[in-house]
Symmetry: C2
């Protein structure tokens, strides 16, 4: 069953059927009605492949994430898909799993399917592998990477805003020795978070002891190991800020093992606000970087690029704010509090 069959039964041309289905307003209402009747009677639906082929528009966007099993991503994927469906787009999803080969393959698949745009959420990894896409001037949106580049849009993350709130929250709870566990420093997003931490500390008059900054790798195990180092310090921190929530969970797990009670003995703050952070015990105070908002922005950025008639040479810059979500993993610094009482 195809458009010709519909045309025959509705006694119109295929062009009229096509126009009707695409809601082109020049079709006479009565003709349109006749067409719709047949369409519904036969349960006809158009063939997207044929459509894409002739129109040169696939109505597919690619979405590249580093790992769908990383709890940070499912919400993004969900919202991206949801927004896409609302705009009659389909999504070609791929996880690179930090593997350049998979990344290369993903680019190939995107090209073969003639995607109209690609959102890249690998936070700065293997970015050069996307050159094939850039070459063909396919709209691209990145999250949180490097300097502006031609034809590429960016969603900048305002890390400083949330991290400053976190630092000030800890300072208000009278913490001074505040540790920071970074992500893998090969990632720009990780170094930027670290810098936001250092700057926020400076702003409140504290120069960060370099020993208090330890490299993690955004995994729970990395958080455990990193906190291990912090805990062995002669003067260990009373609070730890982590580059993501999984790291914070690692810190909590390690401190549980070492009989350090969160939040009484140690305040912990995460970053991302992934879904489970509210469910762990104690519920995690964290800096939210809205995954839903990120998914929506990424889709709309691509849609915007695709819909303009002149190519978006300059790229567009978007900004996603971060902000502190208070829960129960932070508390007053006991030592400082005792001191204060004496005063």
């Amino acid at each position: 069953m195809n458009i010709r069959e519909i045309a025959k039964r509705a006694r119109v041309s295929t062009a009229t059927v096509s126009r009707t289905i695409n809601r082109i307003p020049t079709v006479q209402p009565q003709l349109a009605k006749r067409v719709w009747r047949v369409v519904e009677d036969l349960g006809y639906f158009p063939n997207t492949q044929a459509r894409a082929l002739v129109s040169g528009r696939s109505r597919i966007f690619g979405l590249i994430v580093s790992e769908i099993t990383n709890p940070f991503f499912p919400e993004i994927v969900h919202v991206f898909e949801d927004t896409a469906v609302h705009h009659d787009y389909e999504i070609l999803l791929t996880s690179t799993v930090h593997d350049p080969v998979r990344m290369k393959l993903a680019v190939r698949r995107m090209l073969e399917h003639r995607v109209e745009g690609v959102a890249v959420m690998t936070f700065g990894m293997e970015e050069s592998l996307l050159d094939d896409l850039k070459l063909r001037k396919i709209p691209l949106v990145f999250v949180d990477v490097g300097p502006p580049r031609p034809y590429v849009s960016n969603i900048r993350i305002d890390y400083l805003h949330g991290i400053r709130q976190a630092v000030q929250h800890l300072a208000a709870l009278r913490h001074e020795r505040i540790g920071f566990i970074t992500g893998p420093l090969a990632l720009r997003s990780a170094t930027t978070r670290r810098e936001a931490f250092v700057q926020s500390m400076n702003e409140i008059g504290i120069t960060v002891d370099p020993q208090l900054i330890v490299e993690g790798n955004h995994t729970l195990e990395g958080g455990e190991a990193a906190f291990g180092k912090l805990a062995r310090l002669p003067s260990r921190p009373t609070a730890v800020l982590c580059s993501n929530d999984m790291t914070a969970m690692g810190v909590m797990r390690k401190s549980y093992a070492e009989k350090i009670v969160v939040p009484q003995d140690l305040s912990v703050i995460g970053f991302d606000n992934i879904r489970i952070s509210q469910y762990i015990l104690p519920p995690l105070t964290t800096v939210e970087m809205s995954q839903a908002e990120l998914g929506r922005m990424a889709f709309l950025a691509l849609l915007n690029d695709v819909q303009r008639e002149t190519p978006n040479r300059a790229g567009t810059e978007y900004v996603l704010k971060t902000s502190l979500v208070l829960r129960e993993s932070t508390a007053l610094n006991k030592r400082a509090a005792t001191r204060a009482e004496r005063i």
Copy 2:
């Protein structure tokens, strides 16, 4: 750049280019070599839409899950995608979010994209909405639902195996009053798990007190509420088996609030073995239902249906075993243990 361009430059016909690219062995090696050279020089790759249109094979499978943000699914999606890519298939993913409208829309999208098969992982929900697919004899694979149906394959879950292990593990730890928190009883998967529990208890000579079976809804909040009921019982259970891991996390959260210590005062066992279960405190003992295996089986089931020349009228039945994973949320029943010492 298209196949004609390649043909011209390689001084062969488009047919030969097509054959070469599709690795049809009748092409002369030297001709093939010439074609490949041009293909590589120009960075040519075929257009999947055109291919699909003319061959009538989209090389796309649909994957319908109830919620990608449910931690049970990301691993499945990942493995499904991974296996698909290995077989040169693409995947059309959708979350129904338990919404019949979205389900209906998903079916429509699948049809428009001419998917060759659909894996349905909604565990028994809104299944009638898939009639359009059945009607068109599109290969379908379900997980864990109803009786065999024509043209539909099924992955059965051997719930009993794992649940029996869980019950026997608890019994060995001298628990007798064992509670069970079900999933939403509208779901077949939930009632089947409950029945497996009752049977396993009967097998070890215990008739389950109906008060000890409480309905949950597979969410953390549901687990909290359900355990609230169990905790208020005159004689509360010393162990609880849950219909999924999120429920178990709810139980742990609620017992934390009520100063009931897991596992000393209460043993808890989950079901599913989602990723985070190993990370929570204490690490959760749970019945594993391998998500990776499920994703792989679902893909291969569809592939199998698609590759046979005669339609799979009878459908194929697959079985996925479940089995207990011991971690740290269970312990010896204190009361019974004391009694035993006296003996």
